[in-house]
């Protein structure tokens, strides 16, 4: 009796597995075929960096090397509302592969990583949240090197729950 039941349960499980695997596999291939590359493994990559040097290293650099070839456009020096701070980053460096933004005092300091496809200008603008007044850094990867520029923003109302 027990044995019969076991066989039945086993068979049931196998059928269930098989049944589930079909659609799962299909979904997997579907997601891959659909546009956009998959989301990066987040905490493991550059977004897991907790210091500026870690972020530089995650982008393939070895040390914090400063550059003056970054302009901050309309990025404010004083932000009245930390929830919406427009940050513009542009660089005149040649051969730019990617640009990262590091907001020193935020709980997750790496805020964004912009890749720069051929033909796209190394110039981006997006709104960010700043929990408090902070140094912000642009990390520019160009011709295999990572160069860093700093800007300071004073926030009068915080971006975290404030």
């Amino acid at each position: 009796m027990d044995k019969v039941r076991r066989t039945f349960v086993n068979r049931g499980a196998r059928v269930a597995l098989f049944g589930a695997a079909g659609p799962l596999l299909a979904l997997g291939t579907c997601a891959q075929a659909q546009s956009a590359p998959p989301a990066p493994d987040w905490a493991q990559g550059v977004f897991g960096a907790r210091t500026l040097l870690e972020a530089v290293r995650a982008m393939g650099g070895t040390a914090v090397i400063e550059t003056r070839d970054v302009s901050w456009g309309n990025t404010p020096d004083i932000a009245e509302n930390g929830l919406v701070v427009p940050i513009s980053i542009a660089t005149t460096l040649a051969g730019v592969e990617s640009i990262g933004l590091y907001i020193e005092k935020n709980p997750t300091p790496v805020a964004a990583l912009f890749e720069v496809p051929a033909g796209t200008r190394p110039s981006f603008r997006t709104n960010f949240k700043l929990g408090e007044s902070s140094n912000i850094y642009a990390l520019v990867k160009a011709e295999g090197r990572v160069l860093v520029a700093r800007h300071e923003i004073k926030v009068t109302i915080g971006g975290c729950g404030g």
Partner: protein
């Protein structure tokens, strides 16, 4: 389903300037609701834009991007009438793609 993006793509000089407005909560995972419970993180992690099969914008985001994000970028080699598609994917795996036509 998330709200449609607003996308404007205009030729200015030798560049096509693209401005995108996305409707998204962009929850950081740091905020507490009225009862003191943490609101789980929920934010856009990837944004890409393509035109004629060519990638012209590709970014990964953390939780620090503001609610209802705006993006501005520009690229060379666009013509009036080109179609540009913008796609985002968030931490829940939700995604949305919208399209705009490049204007003069």
């Amino acid at each position: 389903m998330a709200d449609p993006m607003r996308i404007r793509a205009r030729i200015e000089g030798d560049q096509c300037v693209v401005r995108v407005l996305i409707g998204h909560e962009m929850e950081t995972g740091q905020r507490r609701d009225a009862t003191g419970r943490l609101v789980p993180a929920w934010f856009i992690q990837r944004v890409t834009a393509t035109t004629g099969g060519r990638v012209v914008f590709s970014a990964s985001w953390g939780p620090a991007v503001s609610k209802n994000p705006v993006i501005q970028f520009s690229y060379a080699g666009a013509k009036v009438g080109d179609r540009i598609q913008v796609t985002w994917v968030d931490t829940r795996g939700d995604r949305r793609t919208d399209e705009a036509v490049v204007s003069a």
